[in-house]
Symmetry: C2
């Protein structure tokens, strides 16, 4: 995607980037180190100011970085990136870091700079939410649950504009919805619900 | 669906019913009263024992009932039910209850009994998770966020078996993923991610 296809998403519409339940990639950076991991357990938590919730296992390097930084990014990947999602969700950034590298270098992942936070944004995704962690240590410790406020959002205008996703003609840009073990479903056809009369 | 198509889902696999991010219907019952509402903000929270997180606005009657009962059900609706989802997500059960009715009566919604909880399970859905609320009043008050343990789960074996969704040939049973304002996306085609070599 050329940078010119990225558009800011108004914060009041940022929840719509996650409302349909896509699997996300969580990126974080702190003190010159960076990492990215997959997370299927993410959802909106509030409309405006927009908030999100995401579950991050204690064993993850990304969690250590985002706790230190207090910020992170939810990248919304697409069908063309299924192998990247499976790979960054199955490998340890800490091991690579101990060898002086990281997942971005190891797998040739291109990034661009966030507007508000230190974490890198992954090229080729279809949406990005920059987030500031809310201080809720009980949820972190007890449930591996992290709540955050969304402070900036962007999306690929080919598939998201005016607050709506429109994937027709862009199958490679459809969002990914993980079931288990590298098996995903991509998002499908639109359907409008009508109000029934009592 | 005939009841014979419903199969229990092992608790260790229950998270897979929500892992791909479907919109859910939350049902609750207490003291002879019952309600059902739509919620797009729901996700797994843990594997085993399985836990879930769901956001429920303070204004909702379903929330009052589930707080009183301490239990609820997440019903996973399908494309054939888009109008039902839109309707129960846009109408007030409390108003109907004050008139002596409820959403089930008003819209002709058929239910069947849960195994472990008081809340009704909606016929025609493709999965059902019976849940017991975890006592986290700070999350309730501050974030409208409810965490719960899943204590029983079932799915329609036509589209979920052996821990996997398989919607091919069953378009009417595809899960719904709400974007906004009654506009849904249905879940689409499967895709397997492969591990990249560093």
């Amino acid at each position: 995607m050329s940078p010119s296809q990225r558009r800011p998403v108004p914060l009041s519409k940022a929840y719509r980037l996650l409302n349909h339940g896509p699997t996300v990639l969580v990126s974080a950076a702190h003190d010159g180190q960076r990492n990215i991991m997959a997370a299927a357990w993410a959802m909106p938590l509030d409309f405006e100011p927009p908030k999100v919730a995401v579950v991050l296992d204690k064993s993850t390097w990304t969690r250590q970085l985002l706790e230190a930084a207090g910020t992170f990014v939810l990248n919304v990947p697409c069908a063309a990136q299924a192998d990247i999602v499976q790979t960054v969700g199955s490998t340890s950034g800490l091991e690579l870091q101990q060898g002086g590298g990281d997942k971005f270098q190891a797998y040739g992942l291109q990034t661009f700079a966030a507007e508000q936070v230190e974490a890198p944004l992954l090229e080729g995704c279809v949406a990005w939410l920059e987030c500031r962690l809310l201080p809720e240590p009980h949820n972190h410790q007890q449930y591996d649950l992290f709540l955050a406020e969304v402070i900036a959002a962007q999306a690929d205008s080919r598939v998201f504009s005016d607050g709506r996703w429109h994937f027709e003609g862009h199958d490679a840009l459809r969002t990914l919805h993980h079931v288990a073990g590298g098996h995903f479903l991509t998002i499908g056809a639109p359907l409008d619900g009508q109000l029934l009369k009592p």
